[in-house]
């Protein structure tokens, strides 16, 4: 994981130092700008943050998207030209940060996670996305090129839902909606995957299945950690001036979706816990079956072997040995004993 090393490296530095804490080594930082108002829309890739920030005119909505967090120049620009507090820049760069919202006098910072469930590894891939909202401008920071916000771009390009005539708040809402929808998709997938392993488990309750449940539990735990704070973030956002009465109504809808995701996550947790009980039961049933086979075979043949042993003794005076009827009689006794045992097991419902 290497997190400790990162953290220890930061330890001696003053707060607000621009150090990137993350796994992703993006070689190039891409800056793109979408600027729109009504029918006018301009979409452009730019090279420097200064050029991007020049679009932040008051009479149009400007969305600056920054992919890759390695370019120090970009963050210096955001700090010095756009006026974001160094401590918040530090939070944006620390990609292990907990989702949160910071409401300041003239701008708002939101840190969120985009998640992708990997059904092969039963693991969650996550990417941090940070939003700075100031007046009519939104700057988004992503660790790498992602596609969760692509539908939002499409909506702007095609003016779906009349987004180009809506406020900045509506754009923020659209982004949140896209991210939360992703949570919903992934949590539904996890739930349906857990349902699938249930059948698998009853048939072959081996260590592999247990490992899977264990992983699903960790996945759920991880997802919960990312989703829970979103509820508070939306509550915090509602109180800002970014969100007017109209947008607030939309935000309430996202809030409902978040609660739905939280329900799903809780349900997957309960389901995987219940599955564990089924697993342990299956294992002990298998054990029981094995024990029954052993016991049936042993209790039938061990007494028989004893009888055979008796007449294998070499005593000089064993009168039975010389009798003609003795051998068939012994066989008869043995068969009778076996029958008796089988009836006993039948009564006990062992097979």
């Amino acid at each position: 994981m290497g997190k400790q090393e990162d953290l220890e490296k930061k330890k001696g530095l003053p707060p607000g130092s621009l150090v990137y804490v993350g796994d992703e080594e993006a070689s190039v930082t891409k800056i793109s700008v979408i600027d729109y108002k009504g029918n006018v829309i301009e979409e452009k890739s730019v090279d420097t943050i200064e050029e991007a920030l020049s679009y932040t005119k008051l009479d149009s909505v400007t969305w600056i998207n920054i992919e890759g967090l390695h370019n120090k120049e970009v963050f210096k620009g955001v700090r010095d030209i756009f006026g974001v507090h160094p401590l918040l820049i530090e939070d944006i760069l620390n990609t292990e940060h907990r989702p949160k919202i910071n409401v300041l006098d003239n701008y708002v910072l939101m840190i969120l996670k985009m998640v992708w469930f990997d059904p092969e590894e039963i693991d969650i891939d996550e990417e941090q996305i940070s939003l700075i909202i100031k007046d009519q401008t939104i700057i988004t920071f992503q660790e790498k090129e992602g596609d969760v916000l692509d539908p939002v771009r499409q909506m702007i390009r095609q003016n779906l839902g009349n987004i180009r005539n809506m406020s900045t708040g509506y754009l923020v809402y659209s982004m949140l909606d896209a991210i939360v929808d992703q949570y919903l998709i992934e949590s539904e997938r996890i739930a349906s995957d857990i349902e699938k392993i249930e059948e698998e488990m009853v048939l072959h309750p081996d260590q592999t299945v247990l490992q899977k449940i264990y992983n699903y539990k960790n996945v759920g735990m991880f997802l919960r950690k990312q989703v829970w704070p979103v509820k508070e973030i939306i509550t915090g956002l509602e109180k800002t001036k970014i969100i007017d009465l109209n947008t607030g109504f939309y935000l309430k809808d996202v809030s409902d979706h978040v609660i739905h995701v939280m329900d799903m996550v809780e349900m997957t947790h309960s389901m995987s816990t219940n599955l564990l009980d089924v697993y342990f039961s299956s294992v002990s049933n298998k054990m029981n079956e094995v024990m029954k086979v052993l016991t049936i075979v042993s209790t039938i043949f061990i007494p028989l072997t004893f009888i055979a042993g008796i007449y294998g003794m070499n005593f000089q005076y064993m009168p039975e040995l010389d009798e003609h009827w003795a051998y068939p009689v012994v066989w008869g006794i043995m068969i009778a004993m076996t029958m008796g045992m089988l009836i006993f097991f039948k009564v006990k419902r062992w097979f």
Copy 2:
């Protein structure tokens, strides 16, 4: 389940798009209207939403019931003529939605679930019912033809409880009461079913019973998800102007019933958890019994077989073999050993 596909399909669309997310493929949408005031009652099946909405006169209570959610024209009418926000229409169409209430300036939306417990499959069938209340009009949306609200219809037809002279709020209350009564019936049934499998379990603690408990736990979890929000919905409803002082008193009664259902659901949860312990104990008792049989048979016969083996050896000089008394003496020793063992097991209370 196909939920992810549905959700993914919606992903790229702007909020408020009218896409039906649900399992049910109802070919026809049925619209019926009940309009009453005092002695006057009119009940009619209509073809278009426009016709239905023409009944929304101010001086009588109008209940428009819509069965089936596939007809886009209906929702366009509700949106454009009746003035419901597109986002809420979307919520009505998304039948996976969490129960909720939206209180707006001039109308209220409630989304609830009707549930049916299937005792064969140990599963919950659910159907979403949405209510829009505006002035004297209530529009209800159901996925398919249902009968939970039939008693309410009967009450109106026969003017039971003088419902025809009561306010719209009283009609809302009657519907809520019918739905919550259904919860109560189903949760009582689940509780009594769980009690029944207890006996079954102690006798034959096999995998099937465990599977049942597992299903009951999931059922309880699911029911809880549907019932919990109803408490909040009622609280939200109480604050609206739909509910006057008189109706508020009735609503308090429904609220009591919801708490009772919540108690029942919690109790079924505890009961099934406790049953699991009984199950695991029964399994391990069965195992114990099997082990005891094996041990008793083995510890009696293995030593005896050894003795028989001794005198089956072919050494030339085994003085005992030639003695006349040797064979009966060996038998005597064997019987004595067996007796000793049996006494030992008796003392240990193994049988």
Copy 3:
């Protein structure tokens, strides 16, 4: 249980219909009146509710006790003459109702449960008691003849604690106190019974004991359901005008007792959960013991039997067989092996 049938029967009826939901088929409804003020006390059995209600004069405390809930005339009287809302009458008749308080403008309804612990069946018998308090009159409704309120009657007859000069509130307090004392007695009995089965369990951890723990858990769960709401009921009662400053002080005392009962119930829950662990441990210890006996006997005699088997082989050229010393030597080896095994088991602390 038949609850569902009852509930389903009610389903189609308007709210406030007088249908009795309960197990008890009392053939006759008994109405008795106690009316007192200072030195004057009148106690009488009456036939009609009208007669009873005629005692509700303003200048004396009137306690009307109704045993049996089948007489519709009685409830019509209470509804029409005494002025109680039909919905509340319905609640009184539904004996499965959750304990609750309804505070109305001019009267108060309390629904409570009297409980009796049945130590043989490890079950809780309960009876619903409803109180309507209006001005100086208290009407109590019981399902069958009970004795929990007998001490209160004695107090009135003998004017213990000067009850005859106290307010109606004090009578309500006395009744609550009698009911909660009953809870206390039963919960203490349950706790001490659970302590007793602990010893039983360690000695003979069989299925019966587990069944008992399971029942105790259900009993605790049930008791909790009845006791928890009482706390709220008292809080609600404290806010009414029935309770003056002086009585409020007494009520606080009952509240303390309820908390004590809640503590007891929680403790019995924890104790029975802990007992389960002891149970499972005892079972697995028994299993361990059985396994050890099997293993000791098997590991001693199976190798010995093998040696005996060797010299039971019929090869022509087995030089040992002809040696004089061979037989004693084999015995020596066998005894040495047995000794070695025994020492091994001793070292392993298997016995």
Copy 4:
């Protein structure tokens, strides 16, 4: 325990009857008085409560300590002369009472528990101590002669911390501090005892150890029941006029200690729960070991015995039997099989 009998005995009596509910049969009630102000201190044993109450002059702090609760005269004095409500006297006499505080107009009652942990029996001995504080007088009631308050007496005698010039509130604080310190000592002892049995358990995980954990859990549960309410009691005390600004600061310190005790109690609970897992694991490891020994011995010797059995058969035509090399070859095969088995077990890491 006999609690039920006690409770049932009280059932028919009016509230406020002076009946002692407790285990302790103290034959004599001892009354002692400490009266101090600045340099003046008077300490005396008195015979009647009247004499003790004569010290309650306004210009000095008076501490009346009553040991033993059987003397009805004492309580009549406290009720009639000192003016304490009969219901509170009843609470003082009921030594099973939950810790609580009653704040009245002119006096305060606190009921607390002194606890002693008995490490031999793994049990908690408790004694109820009640405090009545009125103006400058504190009356303490103890069931039997105790020593938890001895340090407070020493402090007064030696004027440690200048206590003799402090207010009544400071004396109350000192008593509370002494009692809570006792909690701290006992909870620390319990925690360190639990740590000790951990080692014992891994070595010899027998039923005795389990019994101990079970007892520690009950002890923790019991202690929690006594400590939790103390937090509330202090909060309640802070609001009274007994506690001035200066003493409030000291009381906050006691409050911190109570939280510390609560932490300790929670930790012992978690530790003993965790130990249970270690216990069950140890048991199943032992079982595993036993099973391995059985399996190793059985799988080695059962096949060998079979081979010996083969050549013990008496068929006329068994060509191998007559060959000179046959016997050593069979031995060779047997040794090879044994070796193979041992290697198999080694690979499987069974020993």
Copy 5:
């Protein structure tokens, strides 16, 4: 641990006595002073507390660090010259104290814990650090020489983050930040260590691994106890006048980090609980495997041995014995039986 002895020693003393309760026997108490304002910085080791306190001039920030808590003169100086309440001095000396904040009229006391995770012993080493903040002066008390605050010293020396021009509040923030960063580092390390033992466990689920999980759980429990109160401490600190608007912003950042640590601690708890399930499953799988080997070998060879036993009997009239084909036929039967068994086990998926 010896805590009880310490506590008992304190029992008889008045509150506020200066007794050191801790494990560490530091022979010498070291006092160092850092005094800075803008470009001026003075750093010095002093011998007496009087000398250190002489630096507390109003126009520069003074940080007095005291290592070792044995020197009574120091505490007398802090009490008498600096004016700290004896009870708080006592809290500083009691190194088992719970983290807390005391806000007084003119100074603030904070007690915190520095923690170090020892991965070898799977244990937490902790050291108490107390801060007294009064005007421009901060006094820190440490049990022994530590390095958690070293980065803060470096920041002051090199004026990183312009700390030398910031307020006292900023210095407090820097210290808190250093301590919380340490929590973060240690909790991340614990989480990653727990992930590592997961693999180890599945391979060799022995008692050692269980012991480790048990220790990790205790570590988590301990860490939680130290971290939880920090949240409240920061909330308390925010309300004091030490923290101005600017520093409050920084403090909010530390608060976020504490929440992150709390999340980490909760996650390690869940992870270790889940691991326990994996452990128990691994153990029972091993057991299952052992049982299968035993059962396979036994069920194959016990019947075969019986057949061999049959023809080892010495009856005179056993016609099969004299037949030429008998011996090969018996072999054939035996091989067929073995094959049948193997197929049976294959079908049952036992290997």
